[in-house]
Symmetry: D2
Subunit: 346 residues, 4 copies
């Protein structure tokens, strides 16, 4: 709504643009006045024009998928929307060439190598790089992101759980026992374009199930970042598969050592919500619903208390605030643009 | 609700029981007082107990899937729920052994070999058998079915179009030009258990499309049977894929040589509906909906007229009246049981 | 599959048969060899034939909805599928007339009047009757139900949480802290036939939300019955609304005072599952899904452990094991029929 | 992707912005570099901020719903997204004040008063205005729209049928007999925000039905505009309700007096598609699906021939090309902006 002239001055490539996240970011960037997408890759659909892969993006001019290994033109910065193994290979290469890199995979999020290799089931051969990477959650690491050359974009489930807990700030010190994160996601977060029978219409529609109970790779990610600046606690994380396309709602149960004061929680959360462009606090947690966040970059938040218990409910769009939108928020910060540019209206 | 003692006196085998139709029939037979299912086969899941393949049928005792080629015990009659090529092989064998056979595939429906081979794309090597098979549409061929050893169960789309047209009787002689059959089916009719990407949740949900326009194999089947006892007309048949699990609704447009008299249509349809156990005539075609026929053996029917035009709307459950339910209706007739036994309440 | 002659010898009335539960029970009873439904009431659709209200039950003979206050013929026993206030009025009347009564409302479940009136928001004027009512959970109170004249059928959410916890038996004594019950239900459990905008297609489809967090009326019901025979614990119960028609999946998080031994849990649950006709234990909780229990009377169960934590996952069909099916299971017990009659295959 | 500076120089009001179409247009305008939305009205939610009615538009600054009758500031042009009766009142008033007006209701589309009053069931008291209004289908009336002060935006179903037929051009003269338009729409086209029970989740989900067969108000609209510049033919139009949120797919059956030449059709359609910014022609009609047009302003088109028959399949998003998107396309033309501005990427 502001008078921002379109001057496409920063060039970007998306490596692995053939998936749902790549598509979402491609669409977002087409609205952005300053980023210009000049290079997209996919080893599945290389050679095809973007209009043949994503008909709804057919207005985008001159974009043809390249192989991942095609040389990226100079002065182009990099978004990695690739599988973990590809990110592991490519991120160091691109950084060495002096490009800024944001990685949407899980490869560079965990600082505990044992936990990483247990969660992701392959050896991390570039673990020394964990010193230079910044975790791309602007609400927690905004200043670092502004100065970063290498940002690791958070997981979708992880974002929905880390933020509500982390912004409790010093209240976190009185948490006792494990924190339960019961999360429910639409299929685009879990297997949007896969051909596995478990994602067939007849297996998802009119159905609901849990998966990777207490063993999902986002559990250690939540444990590492939800308690930044505080004493770490155990997270009990269970993801579930909803018969919807996009959206995550997480219900978080926290026990405190003493009765929870709803006013105190309200003040704490409200103080953060007021200064954060993409965090909305609701009067009651029953107002939170995934429909309200679909196609937006908001994380919606509400809470209820009872005795020593605090229940937090959060919702976000797994493809936007949980992936491509948050990546663009980070890119805006990395390149000095207003943080919400291209994101306020999707 | 009638006082029918359970005496399982007629033994059945389902060849190809691992698909959706086989499952539906297995479930129906478990309610039936006289049919006893003693043998089920599947080349995909042979060796598995039925409870491990279909958890909701786990109460059925002692049923383990065999290979198709496993010897079927004597005195067991046969339901073929197999692909066309398997039915072509198996039907003659079982008939030779003196068993009654009902085939749910499309193999033995068309009496025009050229049309068959065009529609099904493989050579029909047993076409001499077309003399002895009876088309299993009880509303048209009830008496023949009662005396048949070999019945070919109609296609789901075909049933939804043949019946509404055929029961017009002598009114059909004034039809001019082609009859348009615009049909819409849930996914269980099209590819319930397949792993093709076009049946992935993300491709079916919030989507709708036509397929095999004017080239579906049920088009010649409708042409052959909708005009039995009358002059044949051209059928223009287009199937569409609905984002629902079960149900077909067909909208049929017929032109007459002169203005249609709604009273005449009403009387003709009502006369048939009153004596048919599974045909329901509604006051207006807008009342027809697939929800009303799901999990029932009914074909619901309504019509509207305007000038020379008659629009018929029909609905049925593709797995019941369109497949397993109609098969059971036929089996009841073939073995001398009340036609609606095991079907009146599903 | 057993040889049970159909002899309709026990007459039943359903008061409040116009709702989804009444419809489900009507359908179930039509398969039952011994119960005969002779009287149905509804103050909304009185005067209408059942076929005009529920087209898929149109085969049922001679059933016309009466007003609730129409005299029920002698020798007819009573199912109350009525709102709480109607059950409060009607149950004592019918009992006084010497009829057996099963009530599907929440009116006669809680033995703590204060908790009842807080949960249900109206004064309970017949609280003295709480001495004679039996809670209709066969897995816990089978022998009492057999001898009961008055049974209160459990809530759908409540069943999905009470059973998994209660069958832990003496292991419950080492539970510490509150037990989290995070439950997700299809719309037929929440407001199937209501006209509220919150149940409009556009508000439910592609959506998900929590409601009545820590304040649902089933929370005290779970607290009362999950710990029968053990020390009571606090329950933290949050229901959510799934965009599906039928089914509840509950994810239950329990903390113990010491590390949980998965073998011990397995043995305890397996011992119960083996003797219970409607409880299925799975090898992993990820196998549990609502599709597997839809249209069945099963409660499916699985678990995972990690340190001091036990996660239980249960699923059931809210209209069957959560309402009408469990009611029929209770009716079978109350009238001396095999417990699974009319329920093994739905 | 073009370098268009944001200079909000044309002010707009949306009268009746509280519905789905108003919301869609509000969202589209927020991306547009030159239109500035300054005034929105709704008699249902007046006084509320847009963020409280549509949370996903919460970034839009300073927009509060007014009553319809609130004075609109000078130099503001008008979009009417109001019911027919309100448009009838308001359009002449606003025009008299010298504002440009585009009306999204059906009030000013039909030039035959008898047909109008039969279709819309109320007397048209401003029929003299039909001389000055331009039908807002750019593919047919682009030049007139550019010079118009008063545009009537086409209906969603009507657009999906008029365009495919009209662009056949001189081939239309050989059409014989009525043209069948069998159309299927998502719920947002039919009753998105209504509270009627027929739009309850349980009535739409897993369901499908026809409505207003041969009597929908878009039938005369198609008849008037599909044959502009040719001899009029009868249209047989049947709308159906899909269990999806947005999208219309129409299957159109046309008989010709002689065999149809597919090459001739292909050339005719391709010539138009090549110069139209929002018309996409596919190689086969089976490729058309509503998923491909959702959230876009495209009308997708394909065809198949067989003997004298031509089948056309079209798809569009009822809220975009069928309403708000087409309105914006028209507004661009009316105010001299590039036709696809704000529409190429949604």
């Amino acid at each position: 709504m502001t008078l921002v002239p379109f001057m496409k001055q920063t060039k970007l490539a998306i490596i692995g643009a053939g998936g749902l996240t790549g598509k979402e970011l491609t669409s977002l960037l087409s609205h952005h006045p300053h980023f210009q997408l000049v290079h997209i890759t996919s080893n599945q659909v290389d050679g095809k024009h973007i209009r043949d892969v994503f008909p709804e993006l057919s207005h985008l001019p001159d974009l043809v998928f390249q192989k991942h290994d095609t040389q990226v033109p100079k002065d182009v910065h990099i978004v990695l929307a690739t599988p973990n193994e590809v990110s592991l290979d490519k991120a160091p290469e691109f950084l060495k060439e002096g490009r800024k890199v944001i990685d949407l995979s899980g490869t560079f999020r965990l600082h505990d190598q044992v936990k990483f290799e247990k969660a992701y089931q392959f050896p991390h051969t570039k673990f020394d790089m964990m010193d230079q990477v910044v975790f791309g959650l602007p609400e927690l690491f905004r200043e670092k992101i502004k100065n970063a050359n290498f940002v690791s974009n958070p997981g979708c489930y992880a974002t929905s759980a880390i933020l509500p807990i982390a912004i409790l700030g010093n209240l976190r010190k009185n948490i006792q026992g494990p924190v339960v994160v019961d999360a429910k996601s639409g299929v685009s977060g879990a297997g949007g374009r896969t051909e596995e029978i478990k994602f067939a219409y007849t297996h998802v529609y009119e159905n609901f199930r849990a998966y990777k109970i207490l063993s999902h790779q986002h559990e250690p990610e939540i444990e590492e970042y939800a308690f930044v600046g505080s004493e770490p606690k155990e997270i009990l994380f269970t993801p579930h598969l909803l018969p919807v396309y996009r959206g995550i709602l997480s219900t978080i149960y926290i026990q405190f050592t003493n009765p929870v004061d709803p006013k105190e929680i309200q003040e704490k959360l409200q103080a953060v919500a007021e200064k954060e462009p993409f965090l909305r606090l609701y009067k009651t947690p029953e107002e939170i619903e995934i429909k309200k966040v679909q196609n937006t970059n908001f994380l919606d938040l509400g809470f209820k208390t009872k005795g020593n218990t605090l229940v937090l409910v959060s919702a976000l769009d797994n493809l936007v605030k949980g992936a491509a939108g948050q990546a663009l928020q980070n890119l805006n910060l990395m390149f000095g643009y207003p943080e919400n540019l291209g994101l306020v209206s999707i």
